[in-house]
Symmetry: C2
Subunit: 311 residues, 2 copies
C-alpha cells in the first residue's frame, strides 16, 4: 500500500550503515558506487536499494574483505562472494538449527525458553562456547546470505541478553576477587560480547561491575578508582575500525594507573596484529578464565597489598 520510495541523506546513510560520510563520498569517486541522486540543492540522496547494498558491503568489510574487491560489485556478483565465506568449523551442540528456526519463526518467548534450557543443560561454559558463540556466527552468516534480516538478529540478541543477565544476576556476589570493571569505549555499542565476558568472569568467581556500553575514557579512570577494581575489561566488536581499537586501548592504558590491569577482548581485538603495551589481549572466552586464574596466582593474597610485618 504505502510504498513511498524512501531516500536517505548522507547523514542518514552513515547512521543506517555505519559507514562514514567521508568514506561514502570517496567511494563514489573511486569505485563508482554508491552514486546517489541529488536534490535541488545538489546534496546527495541515497535510494533504499543503495543503502541496502551498503549495509551488505559493510558486513563483508567487517569480515575482512577489502573495499576494492566488494564496493564496485553488482548485487549478483556479491552473492557469489557471500557463499564463499569461512566455513563454520567449530564444534557446537547439535541443536543450532532448532534455534535458527525459532528465530526465523519470530518466536521470541519460545526462543528464550529454549536458550534457558540449553544453559541449564550444558552449564554456562559449554553454553557460551558451544551454543551462543557458534549461534552468533551462524546468525551472522545467515544474514550475509540474505536468509536472515536485521530485525530478526535484534530479536535474537534481546533474548540472549535476557538469558545471560538473569544467569549473571544469580552469580553475582560482592567480595569476590578479582574485582573487575566492565564496559566499552565510546563508539562501541555492542552489548553482547561484554555480557558474554561478564558471564564467563562471574562464573569463575570474579566480582564484575558492569557499566554498560560507551563509557568515556576519562570516566573509566575515576570509575576504576571509586570501585577499587583490580582489572578493567573492554570489549570490541568486529564492526569497529582496528585503528580505533588501538588508539582507544592506548589512551585508556595511559589514563589508568599501572596497578590496574587492562584486558581487551572481542572480535575487534582478534583483528589486531601486534600487541598493545600494557594491555592483555584476549582471544576466545576461555582466555578470560585462564587470565583470572593467572591473576589469582600472581596476586599476593586475598588482601589488597602486602603489608610487611603484619601478623
Amino acid at each position: 500500500m504505502t510504498k513511498a520510495k524512501i531516500k536517505f541523506d548522507i547523514a542518514g546513510v552513515e547512521r543506517e550503515t555505519g559507514i562514514g560520510k567521508d568514506a561514502l563520498r570517496v567511494w563514489e569517486k573511486r569505485y563508482g558506487f554508491p552514486v546517489p541522486e541529488r536534490d535541488e540543492r545538489e546534496e546527495r540522496l541515497y535510494p533504499q536499494e543503495q543503502v541496502d547494498r551498503l549495509r551488505l558491503i559493510k558486513r563483508l568489510l567487517d569480515n575482512g574483505m577489502r573495499p576494492v574487491k566488494v564496493v564496485g560489485l553488482e548485487a549478483a556478483e556479491l552473492n557469489a562472494l557471500l557463499n564463499r565465506l569461512p566455513e563454520d568449523t567449530a564444534q557446537h551442540s547439535g541443536d543450532l538449527p532448532g534455534f535458527i528456526e525459532l528465530i526465523k519463526g519470530h518466536q521470541a518467548a519460545a526462543l528464550r525458553v529454549a536458550l534457558s534450557r540449553a544453559l541449564l543443560q550444558q552449564g554456562m561454559e559449554e553454553f557460551l562456547s558451544k551454543t551462543i558463540s557458534p549461534l552468533n556466527r551462524l546468525v551472522g552468516e545467515s544474514w550475509m546470505r540474505g536468509e536472515m534480516r536485521v530485525f530478526e538478529e535484534h530479536l535474537y540478541s534481546e533474548q540472549i541478553t535476557h538469558v545471560l543477565r538473569d544467569a549473571i544476576a544469580m552469580l553475582r556476589h560482592p567480595g569476590y576477587t578479582p574485582k573487575i570493571l566492565m564496559t566499552t569505549l565510546p563508539g562501541e555499542e555492542h552489548t553482547l560480547g561484554l555480557l558474554m565476558a561478564e558471564a564467563t568472569l562471574s562464573l569463575c568467581g570474579a566480582h564484575c561491575v558492569m557499566l554498560g556500553v560507551q563509557t568515556p575514557i576519562q570516566e573509566i579512570v575515576p570509575a576504576a578508582k571509586a570501585h577499587q577494581v583490580d582489572i578493567v575489561v573492554l570489549s570490541f566488536s568486529a564492526a569497529i575500525p582496528i585503528l580505533q581499537v588501538k588508539s582507544g586501548l592506548q589512551l585508556a592504558r595511559d589514563a589508568l594507573p599501572k596497578k590496574v590491569a587492562l584486558w581487551a577482548g572481542g572480535a575487534g581485538v582478534a583483528k589486531l596484529r601486534g600487541p598493545v603495551e600494557g594491555v592483555q589481549l584476549m582471544g576466545p572466552l576461555s582466555d578470560l578464565t585462564r587470565a583470572v586464574i593467572a591473576w589469582r596466582e600472581a596476586s599476593p593474597a586475598p588482601g589488597k597489598s602486602i603489608r610487611p610485618g603484619k601478623g
Copy 2:
C-alpha cells in the same frame, strides 16, 4: 602515578562528546572555542580539559541552551549558568535523596535492591512517575552541577534496567492486545526511555515485542509485518537533534503501512513543535496508557479486522 596527558583527535572528540566534526570546526572559527593544539601534520589535537568542557556544553545544549550563549564561556561562567537550570517541580516520593546517596556511594547491589523495593511498594505506575522519572531528572541535574560523574550515571542506568527488565518479564504474556513493536531508530542508543515505555505498556496489558535500539528504518517494516503488530513505538531521547527526530518519523511513517499506528515518545519528542502527520506524539508515560485505552475502544474487536458477513 601514570598521568600522561591524554589528547584526542577530532574523531575521538566526536565519539566522546557526541558533537559532530563539522560543528567542532565551525565553533572554533565562530566562537573561538575549542581551539585545539595541532600535531606535526596540522591536525587538531584536543586536550582533556577542552573535551571535558565540551561534554558540559553538550548537555547544556541538549537542555535547550543556545551555542552562542554557552560555547564561548569560561568554566567559571558556565557554572553560574548551571545552577540556574529549571527547578524540579514535579511531585515525587520522598526518598530520592536516599537513592542519590547510594549512587554516589557506588553501591550497585544496594541500589538495585532499593529500587526493587520501591517498585513493589509503589506499584509500577507510581514507581515510574514518582521515582524513576524524577530520579532521572535529578541525576541529570546533579551531573550538570558537577556533583555526579558519567560513570555513576551509567551504573545507575544499569540497575534500573535490571529492575525494569525483571518486572517486565513477569508481565509478558503472548496474545494480549494491542501487539506493539518497540525500538529506536539508528542514532538513538538510549534504552531507558524505551524500557520505561515497555513497562508502562506491558502493565496495561499490551503485548510488547522489544527489538532493542537502533533498528534500521527499512527493517522496521518487515518486522512489523512478521510480528503482525498493531502499533510501532519509537523512543527518542533529548540528545537527538530535532531535525533527526522529524525526518526519522516521516521516513518511518512513509515506510509503514497505514494500518499500523506509529507512536513516538521520549524527551526528544517533547522538543518537537508541530505535529507529524500520521504519528501520535506522546508526552508523559501516562499518555501511553491513555492511548492504549483509546486504541482498544477504536479497535473493532479482539480479532484483527472487520470481516463483513463472517459469523
